[in-house]
């Protein structure tokens, strides 16, 4: 894992001191609420429905056990004892009073954490593959590049007030587990014929009101030029991106509108930076700097491959729940004798992605005991232990059961993504948590769930798409009609993974539904799938094969409060 240098540490403390100054000027009346807003947002502070919500950066999803303990401490001392993990692998508190905001940032800085650029119209926290550095299908470990880009994008003076938010995702494996085509910039690490490392660069993807799949800007950019190339992209965007309408301000709209001209401008800007700009070529990453950063991500010395394989039944028949957990929550690893273990944060009684302080402590202890003190946050809102020895799997399973992390549902319908929605978020049009809870309760039969197989269910409380509804095999979007909550349901979306197929937004099946109807609607979708399913077919494949008409017909039949569209 990356370890903070003295520079990093003083930098985060400096940022906390700067924020305290801004907060104090705000509380003293010198800095108006309107002017404070963009400043607090760039430190992760929203003003929400009940209290401020604060978003803490977990760069590329890597989290040390000591950091998780510090989050637990903040949750206990300043919040109401729980935390929420998001689809950008960040962490959110919901109940810290604003006058305590600077204290919270100081506490987080103690554990090398902050909220820098977790919101606002700037370059946001960079995300990557949850299995980075341990995936068997990895081409190049993306984490050193993520860290270099984290540093480059942090408090970039020119790009703090872009037309709109700007999200970058990096993948270094054959399988895209980071949904890169859905990002403002998606980076795929590749090797050319000569074995040299570079990036395939995608630009202009995004969710929101107008879902767009990113276009290829270049098939191969030498790795060491990445900062310069991104500088060129973001400068063109800063200059020409629309600022007259927030819904048309993302770079995807500019790329769509300009087409090839946009890419020509980027390439010309890139050329000028390197040819003309003072400091331009200084941002080509030297090998020595790469090596310095990459050294943090070397395989831990304590990892020793173990041969002989793993047989859960070696000492007698293993219990079926353990086998199920192995099948769903335990993943293949680069190192022989090791596995990655997902701690499921999807279970009845707790919102998707939520953990209590006690659960954070338990997960930190599990990480210390079984995973060299390291955890990951996944973009589908679970925690993951990256360094579990096969010999420890049974013990990890018991510990996961004790802490409520052992639901063997990873990839299944109840492993759903959901934003906090209208219960907590001031932006939301509708609540997502009661919908998530109702579906979790309704589909509590594990055999049935397993039989349904892999289904991505994604719920967003509004068009901001924090719950990634566009990429769900089943997507649910909360909308507001005359002050009432309604839900638009869609099927067949893909995040770009092999299982889900090429990136594509889900198709809306019909007019929106009332909240009370949603569980029956999901049931109708599932029943339709069961009826129409070819042998062992996955939901998303059935949906693509039969189209939306059968789903529409089935869901129209369960409408009680909403009228069937003519």
């Amino acid at each position: 894992m990356y370890q903070y240098t003295e520079f990093d540490r003083q930098f985060v403390r400096a940022r906390a001191a700067q924020f305290r100054d801004q907060l104090e000027r705000n509380l003293a009346g010198e800095l108006s609420d309107d002017d404070f807003r963009p400043l607090r947002l760039q430190n992760g502070w929203y003003i929400q429905r009940h209290a401020p919500m604060t978003r803490i950066a977990i760069p590329y999803g890597e989290l040390a056990s000591r950091q998780l303990r510090q989050l637990a401490k903040v949750a206990t001392e300043l919040d109401r004892g729980y935390l929420h993990f998001t689809t950008r692998t960040n962490a959110q508190f919901n109940w810290i009073p604003l006058p305590r905001a600077a204290d919270a940032m100081d506490m987080l800085a103690e554990a090398d954490m902050h909220g820098i650029q977790t919101s606002g119209n700037c370059i946001r926290n960079i995300t990557t593959d949850v299995f980075a550095g341990i995936a068997p299908d990895e081409i190049v470990d993306p984490r050193p590049y993520c860290e270099l880009l984290r540093q480059w994008s942090t408090l970039h003076p020119e790009f703090a007030f872009l037309p709109r938010k700007f999200k970058i995702a990096v993948s270094g494996a054959l399988e895209d587990r980071a949904a890169i085509a859905w990002h403002d910039i998606g980076l795929q690490l590749v090797k050319n014929a000569a074995g040299e490392v570079g990036f395939k660069v995608l630009v202009g993807g995004g969710m929101g009101r107008t879902p767009v799949i990113a276009a290829v800007a270049t098939e191969f950019l030498p790795w060491n030029q990445i900062m310069v190339y991104i500088e060129a992209i973001v400068r063109v965007y800063n200059r020409f991106g629309r600022r007259d309408n927030a819904y048309k301000a993302r770079i995807k709209i500019l790329v769509k509108a300009e087409g090839q001209k946009f890419f020509d401008q980027v390439n010309e800007e890139f050329r000028k930076i390197l040819a003309d700009d003072v400091g331009g070529s200084a941002h080509i990453i030297p090998q020595a700097e790469f090596d310095r950063v990459a050294a943090f991500f070397k395989r831990p010395e304590k990892v020793h491959p173990a041969i002989g394989g793993f047989d859960p039944n070696r000492t007698g028949a293993a219990p079926v729940p353990f086998l199920r957990w192995l099948d769903r929550n335990v993943h293949a690893h680069q190192v022989e004798g090791y596995r990655a273990v997902t701690l499921s944060l999807k279970r009845p009684g707790q919102a998707p992605g939520d953990v209590t302080s006690a659960q954070m402590e338990a997960a930190a202890t599990m990480a210390d005991r079984y995973s060299l003190g390291e955890l990951r946050v996944s973009h589908d809102q679970n925690l993951m232990l990256p360094w579990v020895r096969e010999a420890d799997l049974r013990a990890v399973w018991h510990a996961a059961q004790d802490a409520g992390f052992a639901t063997p549902n990873i990839g299944l319908l109840t492993d759903m993504i959901a934003c906090p929605g209208g219960d907590l978020c001031a932006l939301a049009n509708a609540r997502s948590l009661p919908i998530a809870a109702a579906i979790t309760e309704q589909f509590d039969d594990l055999d049935a769930l397993l039989d349904l197989g892999d289904i991505d269910l994604h719920i967003s409380g509004c068009m901001n798409s924090c719950g990634h509804h566009h990429t769900g095999h089943i997507g649910i979007l909360g909308i507001d009609k005359d002050g009432d909550e309604w839900y638009q349901v869609s099927v067949g979306g893909s995040d770009g993974s092999t299982l889900s197929g090429a990136s594509v937004p889900a198709k809306i099946i019909g007019p929106s539904f009332a909240a009370e109807e949603v569980p029956a609607v999901i049931q109708a979708l599932i029943d339709t799938f069961r009826t129409q399913r070819a042998a062992n077919e996955r939901f998303v494949d059935t949906a693509r094969r039969i189209g939306i008409a059968p789903f529409r017909q089935a869901t129209d039949a369960v409408r009680r409060e909403t009228a069937v569209a003519a």
Binding site: F11, L31, D35, L155, F161
Partner: protein
């Protein structure tokens, strides 16, 4: 960073009708400058006020004759002028004054300074003492290079 007092500032912005010929300390709009640039004597310092949509590279040939470029922030959260300032300094090597005008607030100071601005006219009501304090929170510098410090941290460490 130079803090300009709008009441004692010597640079004058005048309506089109009063722009006759070269005179010292005239701050011209881009349109005014384009109208008179052929007749403007090289030894009379001129200032040009640019909207944040202007392409500063189009002004490259005129830069040696321009003593001051004022870049506008119509709203303080509209960040286009940072890129203009960066290109003026880093690409075009502009050495005159780059001044931030419009809605310029205290907390923009570090960004302005690092993007190449060396003068500001603060929005009415902003405190200069707070703006000066805002410039001092990162004494050890930043990760990426900027106009003041063109080398990123890794290049500074190596030097």
């Amino acid at each position: 960073m130079k803090f300009i007092d709008r009441h004692t500032d010597s640079w004058l912005l005048l309506p089109d009708s009063e722009i006759a010929g070269p005179a010292p300390h005239r701050l011209l709009t881009l349109a005014q400058w384009e109208a008179v640039r052929g007749a403007w004597r090289d030894d009379v310092p001129v200032g040009v006020l640019l909207p944040n949509t202007a392409d500063v590279e189009a002004l490259a040939a005129d830069l040696p004759r321009i003593a001051l470029i004022a870049l506008e922030f119509p709203k303080w959260v509209d960040g286009r002028a940072y890129s203009q300032a960066h290109v003026l300094r880093a690409r075009l090597r502009y050495a005159g004054e780059v001044r931030a005008v419009g809605e310029v607030v205290v907390d923009m100071m570090p960004l302005l300074q690092r993007s190449g601005f060396d003068a500001v006219v603060l929005r009415e009501g902003e405190r200069q003492s707070s703006a000066e304090r805002a410039l001092g929170f990162f004494p050890a510098g930043h990760y990426q290079g900027d106009v003041l410090q063109p080398n990123p941290l890794f290049a500074r460490k190596a030097a």
